[in-house]
Amino acid sequence: MSLKRMNKISLELGLSTDMLPVFLAVVEKSALAFTMAEREAMFLTLAAEEVFTYLAQAGTVEESVRMVLSDGGYYIRLDFIFSNRSLNLRAFNLSNSIDLSDENRLDEIGLLIAARTVDRILIEFNKQGSMQLSLVKDKSYPQGQVQAIKTTSESAPLNSTLHFTQPDNNDLKLFCQMIPSFYSSESFPDFFNYPGKVVDMVSSGEYQAILAYDEQDHILGGLVWEQNIRKTVEFYGPYSFNDRPQIAEGILEQCLQELGRSEASGIMNRSAEKGLYAQYFETLGQTHLVKPDGTVLERTAIYRQLGEDPGSRVWTHPDLVGYLETEYHRLYLPREILPSVSMGEHANPFSVYTAAFEQRTITLRVLLAGKDAEENLLKHLQLFQQENYLNIFFELDLGQTWQAEMVPTLLASHFKPCFIIPNAGTCDVVLFQYQAGTGELK
């Protein structure tokens, strides 16, 4: 269950543009050595150049920055670790645009370019006074072919013995290509369309897979889950290619046994069939996925803890207390709900949101709350609607006291809470869905 050792290259350079050619050469050559395609390597290098240049312009030559380039298998991550000082994170907002006549903001253009050329941006503030800015660029993979694979219903008679095990790469790719033959595209995440990517995800140690086999080693189903990423891990499946209920149950049992002594505290699936696997999971709540034809698909999120709940404190705005009390009572989760409201203290002028894309859904999270939170959120919503994204979610971390001030903004912006995800952040997370994007639920 340990995270496999990834190749890492680190270097520490003075914050001077004189060092830029050295740094860029390392990034580009390393990305190619980590099997990233030339096009993606070029984008990553471009983003790296913009961030380094911004830091060099904002810092002094006496300062240094530590950079770590990691091969995550299916992605490359570039961390910049530097002393904590004013870095205008506003540029990382997806909705950001810069007026070229505004000289005060010209230096942010580089960060804007960087934000647009990578897939994910992560920012961490270290208590020791340093800050880590991470750029993540995914590798590209060819799409799998949905092969005319013979259905396996006849290959697993009721009296045959099943076994459940971690697959080799070929079986894993075959499993990925079988899923679309049995399930609609809304029922599985997009990465299953790229079998090579799934192999690299599992090889990286960030994901794990269990497949079910019959006595002749036909693949009867399987399940993939993430691990070592968050305390509450998400799983995808079980996908069963046969009517025998023992297949899905056996896969789930095996998965739970694998995770039983792991660092994970819970396991969830955001897209389960209602009522299925009730003996293993609790229902968190529902979301509503608007399909391109306007019809609405209800999705049920299921969850279970892997250990005994130790109880915890959560922080929220008074406007959300009633909802939390009701939900925590329903879920039998012992929580002390504490109020967190602004009392006139200094607030950031600007807010920063990050957006994660998955098929037709977007999930927003807040990196920095600020005075322009509502206006900035509105800009994001307008941008997503222009791009015809209909399913917009927001994850609010109840363990981060400062996020509580987002509650009035979210409620005023037509976001409604869908459910609580226990221990999905620093503590529990509330998932909100933007109501104007839910078809007939308006």
């Binding site: 340990s2 995270l3 046994q257 009730a278």
Partner: protein
């Protein structure tokens, strides 16, 4: 400025290891779950407490003695144990609970690249100590809830150093009988250390249950763990021990942290060994309440695993962790078993009838 992240100092096997978080103290749990009483059925403690003579000794312990170091190697207790088991005192090492002696053995025999072999669904500490010490733990699936001797032997390679067998097994209560244990030791033929953890042996009254300590002369590679935390009711004082051949124990002693066992624990353990009535009373309680639970769980239509030891496992038609959260407000604390790789099972410690009734009432209410 030079930035040196902490993670560069930490071995990779520590970076990926998760700390075990014990449950909170009773007052905190009662406040958290809103219950006025709490039956702790989660740790397999003896509900009768320590033997009466030990309780009396604890009540008259002179406070100034707390300023004096204890015997560094539990001198008198080792003499007492040696007399009881007909061993030399140097064949015994006492630790701060059996958990500590697990660490002694692994440190004594393993180095980088080595592995230990145990079961996947057993007491977790063998596996944990191996992993956070940087060694591989080879986990063999149980066979019909019991340690699988053949599969364990099949896992051996030239870097295998120690077998850990929990006998009877926690949490399934199954055991290897005398013949099976001897056959296993014969097959190992001294090539590895074989640890038999007999933490619950005093609860077993079956004739074919092996006395591991009596086999040490015949098998010098055999190490036996025992504890005062279960039958003897001294869990709060933390004291356990190992016994083995002089040759093996002399090696383990090199990794043994002396002075780790306090004075109260040593003196309480000596007195506890003298009280055989306490074992009989406890066995009687366990026997009667197991019979009660057998009837009630059958009536409720639940399947359960009830073998040796002062515990049993119940399979629930719901998540064990949800059952825990639902039972806690009713004042019943059980052990969830997903962490033992038994999803949807809970483990119950046998306790006085009042607690067992509260458990059954709680279970009926949540099902």
């Amino acid at each position: 400025m030079t930035i040196n992240p902490l993670e560069t100092l930490v071995p990779s096997y520590i970076n990926t290891f998760n700390a075990y978080i014990p449950s909170k103290p009773d007052p905190e749990l009662k406040k958290l779950f809103g219950c006025s009483t709490l039956y702790r059925l989660n740790n397999n403690e003896n509900p009768l407490g320590p033997p009466p003579a030990v309780q009396e000794m604890l009540s008259r312990f002179s406070p100034p003695r707390a300023a004096i170091y204890p015997s560094g190697d539990s001198y008198y207790l080792r003499e007492k144990l040696a007399e009881k088991f007909k061993l030399h005192p140097d064949q015994i090492l006492v630790g701060n609970g059996a958990n500590e002696v697990i660490t002694f053995v692994i440190k004594a025999f393993c180095e980088a690249g080595d592995n230990i072999i145990t079961a996947d669904k057993t007491f977790a500490v063998y596996e944990w100590v191996a992993i956070f010490s940087g060694y591989e733990a080879r986990l063999v699936p149980l066979k019909e809830f019991s340690f699988d001797d053949e599969a364990m032997l099949a896992q051996v390679d030239e870097r295998s150093k120690i077998f850990f067998v929990c006998n009877p097994n926690n949490p399934t209560g199954t055991y290897w009988n005398h013949d099976k244990l001897c056959a296993f030791l014969d097959r190992v033929d001294g090539r590895q250390i074989v640890v038999i953890d007999e933490a619950y042996c005093e609860f077993v009254d079956k004739e074919d249950f092996p006395d591991g300590i009596a086999l040490i002369d015949r098998y010098p590679n055999l190490v036996i763990f025992r504890t005062f935390s279960k039958m003897y009711g001294l869990a709060g004082l933390r004291i356990g021990y190992l016994a083995g051949s002089l040759e093996v124990v002399n090696i383990i002693r090199r990794t043994c942290v002396v002075y780790s066992v306090n004075t109260l624990a040593q003196e309480a353990a000596i007195l506890a060994l003298e009280d055989s009535n306490h074992i009989e009373h406890t066995r009687q309680l366990v026997h009667e309440e197991k019979a009660y639970l057998h009837r009630e769980l059958t009536r409720l239509g639940l399947s359960f695993v009830m073998n040796e030891g002062n515990y049993l496992m119940v399979r629930l038609p719901m998540s064990d962790t949800l059952a825990y959260r639902k039972l806690m407000p009713k004042g019943v604390m059980v052990r969830t078993m997903t962490g033992f790789r038994f999803p949807n099972y809970i483990r119950i410690t046998i306790a006085p009838h009042e607690a067992m009734e509260a458990f059954i009432r709680g279970l009926e209410a949540i099902l």
